[in-house]
Structure formats: C-alpha cells, structure tokens
Amino acid sequence: MKEGLVGLEIEERGEVVVARLTGELDIAGASRTGERITEAVPTSAGGLVVDLMELDFIDSSGIAMLFALVRQLGSRRQKLSVAAPAGGPVWRVLEIVEFERAAPVHRDVEAAVAQISPY
C-alpha cells in the first residue's frame, strides 16, 4: 500500500504489530500513513514497532507522525519503538529531533520487537 511515495506493510508478531515503511515519507503521505498505522493496531496489542529500516527519507512531517503515534499508543498504555539503520539519513533526522526522548530507537527490528515483548 502506498501513500504518495511511502509504502506501508503491517505485520503482527505475537502481540506486537510491526509497521514497515518504505520509500520517502513527507507531508504528502504522513498524515494518511499515520491514520492507517493507528487503525492497524488493536487495543489488545502489546505495542507497535515502526520499521524504518527501508525508508529512504523522512522529514518533519514524518517525525510529527511518529510523535503522534507515541501519544496515541501511550494513552492506550501501549508501547512504541522504532527501528532505523544507524547513521543513515533517517537516523540522522531522528537524532536531531531527539526522538529517543519520546520512544526508543533501535538499530534493527528484532531489538525493537524484543523491547516491547521480551518473552
């Protein structure tokens, strides 16, 4: 599924929902992609991993979408973690906006999933 240049795939790993984003995430697709991810996470789920490993580009709109997801899941007492390739453009942006203060950022998806569901 694509919104603008961004692709989204949803995967469930036990009680964890993994949302894999690909392509480029900017204002053209951010809000719609955020809504789709929210819809994909049931209240019964333990938490959400946003997989940015294959995402080529993110801007402040994408960051805003991530912050919004953190707030929504937090209000439902669900956890969120992010996976992004270390040192890449996305990682760099997450660093600049100090995203780690809102949610943990991992270097791979497994670590992110394990963070939420340690069993």
């Binding site: 053209a28 580009f57 801007d59 600049i96």
Partner: protein, 852 residues
C-alpha cells in the same frame, strides 16, 4: 346534259369504252369472214382489230385506276384505228358508219366540249382519208360520215338528259333512295338518342332502336299508336297535345323546338328527358320528328365521367407524389453524404426547389430550447448571419414553428417574410411547413411561388412529405455533427491541455489530424509526472476512428494514469491495460502502446512496447538510435501476453522521440523506409523539444496533413549546470520532484551521500513551509534555485505567501532541522513572500561525475 356524265364513275366509263372497242373490232373481224372485195387488205385489218382489242383489255383491267383524260386519248385512238381500217377496206366500204359509235360514246360519257372535240377529230381524220383515197364524191361522203354521228349524238344526248331527270335513271334513283333510307335507318338506330316521328295527329310512324331501349316498347308495338299514350305520363298529356298543335300551327316550312319533359317507360318509371322536335311540311302533310334524350342517363354519364376524371387526377397526383418522393429520396441521400450541416441544408434547399418546382426556398433551423429560428440556407443567397434570430411566433416561418402546423399564405405581407431575399419578389403564394424530429421542432421549410406558378392548399400535403424527408436529413446531420463535436471535444480532453512541468526535463508534443478525414483519430499521448521526479511518457494508437475510438482512448488514458500513480512497474501497467482492452473491448479492438518511464535522477529510461513503433533516442552527440528491444504484441490481442521491460541510459542532454505510425508512414513504402527517414532528420535538428517537434512535423508531414493522424512527443533530459532555478506547484506531491532534482544536482556537483541527503532534507523543510504558507489567492507556485561555487552550495526556496512565525512543536521542528542540517539558514519574510536561503559547504568526497 350537265349532270349526266357525273352520274357515272370512271370505272363504268372505262368498261363501256372497252366493250365499245371490243364490239367494233369483233364486228370488223366478222365482216372479213364473209365474201368481200379483193381490194380489202385482210391482214392489216386483223392487226388493227388486235390493237383495238388490246387497248380494250388494258382499259378494262385498269378500269379502277384510269383517269378521265386517258379515256379521251383512248377514244381518239379508236377514231384513228377506224380511219386506218377505212383506208384498208377501201373507198366503197360502209365502215365510216362506225364513227357514229365513238361519237355516241363521247356524247354519252364525256362533257359536251370534249365530245365535240372528239367529233372534230373524227371529221379531220376522215377528211384526210378521203383526200388520200380521192374518191368520186368526197364532200357528200364526208358530210354523211361526220354529220350522222353529230346529229345522232346530239339527239341521243337530249333524250338521255330528259330520261335522266324524269325516268331515265328512275331505277337508279329508286335504288339510291332505298339505300339512303337503309342508311338513315341505320344511323337512327345506332344513334344514342331515341328518334321518333309522328303524323299530325301524334300517331307514331318511326321508332328507332334507342327508343326501344329507352322506353321498353319495341318498334312494332309502338308504331301506329298515339305517342301521348305511350311515353307521356297521364298528367302531362294535355300539355303535350297543346304543344303539338302549337308546333303544327307555326309558320314556315320547318320549325324546331326543344322541350324539357317528363317521360315514362313501359314499366311506369319516369325520367327527365329533353326533346328536340322538328315539324316538317311535305306537301299537305305534316311530320313531327323528335330526338329524345334521357337526361338522367346523361347526368349519370356526366357523373361517371367526372368520377373518371377524378380517378385520373388522383392517379396523376399519386404519380406526381411518387415521383417527388423518389426525387426527395435521391436528394436527401445526396445531402446526407455531406458531413456538415450547413452544406447539407444548402443542398436540400436546391433539391427541394427543384423537386417542388418552387421559385424561392428557405430552410430555417430551429433552436427548440431558445424558441427561435435562424436561416439555414436560402435559394436567395441569404446567409445565416444576415438575419437576427427569429422568435417563434414571428413572421410566417415563426408562426409555423410555434403552431407546429403548416401555413399557407396568399400574397403574403412582406413584413411576414423573414428571409430578406424574398422582399424583392412578387410572391403569389407561400407554403411553410415545420419539420419535427422526436416531437421537437427542428426547422421550417418555406417555399414560394411567383406568378404564373401558384401553390394551393393542396400542395401542403406534398410539402409535408418533403418536410418529413428534410427533417430526417437534418436530424441525421445534427446527430452526426453532435457525435463529431463530442468526439472532437473528447479528443481534446484526452490530450493533455498543457504538459506538466518536470524539473530537469523538457517535454513537448504535437498532434496533427489526418488530411482526409475530419473524424477523431485514436492516437493519443500523455505525460504523467511520476512521484519522485520521474515522468511517464505514453504514446498510443487505438485502431479505428470516431466516438468509439475516442472513448477507448479515454478509458485507457485514465486507467494508465491510475496504474502509473499507484507506482506499478511499467510492465505491470501495460499488462493491466491489456486486461482492460482484452476483457472490455470488442474483438476487433487493437491498441498499440508505448510506455516509457524516465528517471532523470538515475538518468535511465525504462520502456514497455506493445506493438508500437520504437522510440527514438537521440544522444547528446545528436546521433539517433531506435530503442528496438522489448516489443511485444499490441493490447487486446491475447489475454496474457508477456510484456518485458527494457531500459537504456538517458544521459543529460539526450532526447527521446515518441510518435505514432502516421509520422513514419510513407504510402507504398516499407515501414523501415519511414523510420530511416525520421532518423535522417535528426542530425542538425534543434535540441529544444518544442522546436524539435515543429521541425520534424514540418519536414515529415505534408502541409495539408498526413494520410493518418500524427502524434509526436519529445522529451529532453536537460543537463544541470552550476546554477538552476525551477518553479514547482504548491502541492505536497511536488516535494518529491524537488528532492529528486536536488539530489541529481548535488551529486552532479560532487556531494557525498550523507551530505546530499541532509541538504535535501533541509530544502524539503523549507519547501514544506512554502507550501503551507500559501493562503488562498496566493501564487500557486514556489521557486527553488541553486548555485554552486566550488564546494559552496547555496539554495534559495522562495514562496509568495505570508510568512507565519514557526510555532513550537511540529511546525517549529522544520526550522530546527534546517538549522541543524545546514551551515546557515536565513529566513527573509517580506510582504510579497518569504525567501529561505540555505548554505552549506560540501566536505565529503562525493561521486562527482556520476549519473547526472
């Protein structure tokens, strides 16, 4: 005497002459049989007798054809023969007595002058004879020989004259009279009218066959009875007697009167009759004769004749209508061949005028919605633009349109004639017929007659027929025109109104309709901006023309855009289009399609070719090369053909040329010839796409148009230098294009991957702000320009809206990102808009010289 010769016809005269000659010759031969004088020359006499009999035979046989003068000559010949006979017999013979015969014949059958002439000839010839023979007493002999026939002839003819008048031809006269009576009887009996005669007392004496037929009484029953008792009804009998007596008492020899009277048949039935009664007085006797005519019979006959005339007139009318119908049919068929309504209506005016024999004809076309008429065509040359719209109800044509009924006008008021061409004419009569199609008035047909020609209300039927045909033709033409218009509009809508601005790419396209057909072709092209700065180029050709082809193009175009924007690979896009054509189009539908996706950032063109002529790639060096690979079957031919994606480098400065076969079709030549003709044009051709399109069309397509439609699309990958400036629409989708352009430019300028990503991200933030700042009424575009000086990069993003102070949180995060990613960030808000200047020095060892 004057009358007698005329009593005989020539046949009788001729035969009598023949008998006379035969008898004379016979008598002469008989005398030779008896003992006679030695001096008589027998042989010569026999020869003379033979000559006489020969003449007799000829005259007898030719009796029916002989002329009067020929008889005179024949008789003179007889006299001559007789004279020779006298000579050969000798001086003492009694032959001269035979002259009496010829003289008598002449007096009997010839007019007196001719008879005397014949006698003079006898006298002369006998005198000559006597002189030759020198007899003893010539004078006495001559007087006896000539005097005898003269005296005998005169006496006999006097006698005949008397007998001819009184008793001489009594038998002939009796016979002639009987014949005359029989003829009269025959004539009377065959007469259509009854002929009745009565004596002075009214007793019937004649009753012809028609009288038998008319009254039912046979002649034998009617003759001898009083007329009043047989055919006069009782109450009219006294009056009848009065009339009869009055007629008898009238002065003069003959009196004739005509009466109308009631007559009665044998069965008692009565009828009106007309009697023409004549009174004839013969000596003391009086005869009344009358022709009686049955007026009721005559009335019936007149009615029959009228009926016959009406039937003939009806048949003539039917034939006229049939002839007109076939004439109308022919002219409508001819008019229908005209694709344009105005031409067709002009044809109809000329045709109707001829078929109806009108002196002036106008066709008005109606706008049923607006309720007005305008002139469609006029025999007087009036043009549609010469006359203001005529509201329904105004003028004769307008009234006919409003009432929807035909109108007939005698000596129309010129003010009612809305075709100004008619004002000068001395119009006797005018017919106006509205014509309807599907219940709507679509026009009015008006025909005028000048004296001596005159239309009557009877001609309305004829004109109505003509109107129906004309309505049919116009309705057909309107449908055709509408279809043509719809198709043309559709096609215009199917071709991009303007091509999109593609950063770093220049595109241009041209469409040239075919020369011959004005129908809408199935060629189409499209340029689809692909998110991320790429472009999809489409060139297709739907087989066929007109509305069906145009609607197919419409479906394919929107389907292709949808598939392309979903981000499918070119091969997948084409496969899905094939499914569409295969499942939804008719069996004969076939579409060739070339779909090329250009990625300027990577400098690559990827294409799928479904049976279309190959695209032409012109490298930066100007050398042309057809991209031949990957050609598969056209769309709609197979359910699951395999479409292979091919790719080629599209270096900065190179150009792609896409076209339909109309550009490379050379009549009668192989397609390869057309392709090489196209390739031959390119060395030396302009680089700029717009100019290139015009250049190619000018050199390959005749000025009057190609045999087929031609669509041409060119794209140039513009090389980016140290500086650039592009405008983008105020749309979120433009951001990806802008980033693609920047990446291409930065890599070209030697930027490392990390630096390129960071600068691109910063510019994206500035551009996002620009898009968000644009309020209603602001310019719909923002501008991005870049300048590279050595390793120094300066990028300006300029919008034309009002700057909004960044709030903390999501919106303010953009500004902090820019500041974190760039060396300097200057925001300059003005009333005209905001400019964000971003600067950074490149430090990484980037891939300078990589793909542009």
């Amino acid at each position: 005497m004057r009358a007698l010769p005329e009593l005989f016809d020539l046949r009788v005269k001729a035969r009598s002459l023949a008998y006379l000659f035969t008898a004379g010759a016979g008598l002469g031969l008989v005398t030779l049989a008896f003992p006679h004088d030695e001096a008589v020359k027998d042989l010569q006499l026999v020869v003379l007798a033979g000559i006489a009999i020969g003449i007799a035979g000829v005259v007898y046989i030719e009796a029916d054809r002989i002329r009067e003068w020929q008889l005179h000559v024949a008789l003179a010949l007889g006299t001559l023969i007789l004279t020779f006979a006298n000579y050969y017999v000798g001086v003492n013979s009694l032959y001269p007595l035979l002259y009496t015969w010829t003289a008598l014949y002449a007096f009997y059958f010839f007019p007196l002058a001719v008879a005397l002439g014949q006698v003079a000839f006898i006298a002369l010839s006998y005198a000559v004879l006597l002189v030759i023979q020198d007899p003893a007493s010539p004078i006495v002999r001559w007087l006896l020989a000539v005097g005898t026939p003269v005296v005998a002839g005169l006496l006999i003819s006097r006698l005949l004259e008397y007998m001819g008048l009184e008793t001489g031809t009594a038998e002939q006269r009796e016979r002639a009279l009987r014949q005359s009576e029989a003829r009269t009887r025959l004539v009377l009996d065959s007469a259509p009218d009854a002929f009745i005669t009565t004596d002075r007392d009214g007793i019937i004496t004649t009753w012809n066959v028609a009288a038998e037929r008319m009254f039912g009484w046979r002649a034998v029953e009617a003759i001898g009875k009083p007329m009043r008792g047989i055919i006069i009804p009782p109450e009219f009998r006294d009056r009848h007697d009065e009339r009869r007596r009055a007629l008898i008492a009238q002065e003069g020899a003959v009196a004739t009167q005509i009466f109308d009277m009631v007559l009665q048949r044998r069965d008692g039935s009565r009828f009106d009759g007309e009697a023409t009664v004549s009174r004839v007085v013969i000596g003391d006797d009086v005869i009344l004769s009358g022709f009686l005519r049955d007026l009721s019979e005559r009335q019936r006959r007149e009615e029959e004749r009228d009926e016959l005339l009406r039937a003939q007139a009806a048949r003539a009318e039917a034939e006229r209508v049939a002839e007109m119908m076939s004439g109308m049919g022919a002219l409508v068929d001819a008019a229908l061949a005209r694709p344009r309504l105005d031409e067709m209506v002009a044809d109809l005016v000329a045709g109707v005028q001829k078929v109806l024999g009108a002196d002036a004809t106008t066709i008005f076309l109606a706008d049923e919605k607006e309720k007005w008429l305008r002139i469609g065509a006029s025999s007087q040359g009036t043009r549609p633009e010469d006359v203001d719209p005529i509201p329904f109800g105004e003028g004769i044509a307008g009234r006919a349109a409003r009432s929807r009924e035909p109108l007939f006008a005698q000596r129309p008021d010129p003010a009612d004639l809305r075709d100004p061409g008619l004002h000068e004419l001395d119009i006797d009569s005018l017919l106006a017929v509205p014509f309807l199609a599907k219940g709507a008035v679509i026009g009015v047909l008006e025909v005028c007659a000048l004296p001596p020609r005159r239309f009557t209300a009877d001609d309305l039927g004829m004109l109505r027929l003509a109107g129906e045909r004309v309505a049919l033709a116009i309705a057909h033409a309107r449908v055709y025109e509408r279809e043509h218009e719809v198709a043309a509009t559709l096609q215009r809508s199917l071709l991009p109104e303007r091509l999109p601005d593609l950063p770093g790419l220049l595109v241009a396209a041209q469409y040239r309709p075919a020369a011959a057909e004005s129908g809408v072709g199935g060629d189409w092209y499209d340029v689809i901006p692909i998110p991320g700065g790429g472009a999809g180029l489409v060139m297709g050709d739907v087989a066929g023309k007109g509305l069906p082809a145009a609607s197919m193009v419409g479906r394919l175009r929107s389907a292709l855009r949808a598939y392309a924007l979903e981000g499918h690979d070119p091969a997948m896009v084409v496969q899905q289009l094939n499914r569409l054509v295969w499942t939804e189009a008719g069996e004969s539908e076939m579409v060739t399609l070339l779909y090329v996706v250009v990625d300027p950032t990577e400098g690559v063109a990827r294409w799928v070719n479904a049976g279309h002529p190959p695209p032409l790639l012109v490298g930066g060096n100007g050398r042309p090369k057809f991209l031949e690979g990957g050609t598969s079957v056209p769309l709609g031919v197979m359910p699951f053909p395999s479409y292979e994606e091919m790719s080629a480098a599209l270096a900065p400065g190179s150009t792609l040329v896409l076209y339909t076969d109309g550009l490379v079709e050379v009549p009668g030549a192989h397609i390869d010839e057309g392709l090489s003709r196209l390739a031959d044009q390119l060395p030396g051709a302009p680089e700029e796409p717009e100019a290139l399109c015009n250049y190619l069309l000018r050199r390959l397509v005749p000025a009057r148009g190609a045999p087929d439609d031609v669509a041409l699309l060119t794209l140039r990958n513009v090389p980016l230098g140290d500086e650039f400036s592009f405008e983008f629409p105020n749309e979120p989708e433009a951001l990806a294009s802008m980033r693609a352009l920047l990446r291409r430019w930065l890599r070209n300028g030697g930027g490392g991957e990390q630096e390129v990503a960071e600068i691109t991200t910063a510019c994206g933030e500035a551009a996002t702000n620009a898009i968000e700042h644009a309020g209603p009424g602001d310019a719909k575009r923002f501008e991005v320009s870049g300048r590279m000086k050595g390793r120094e990069v300066e990028i300006c993003v300029r919008d034309f809206g009002a700057w909004r102070t960044p709030r903390e949180g999501d919106q303010g995060r953009g500004l902090s990102l820019m500041r974190a990613l760039m060396d300097t960030v200057d925001v300059t808000p003005t009333s005209a808009g905001t400019t964000v200047r971003l600067q950074r020095t490149l430090r990484e060892a980037g891939g300078n010289g990589g793909p542009g």
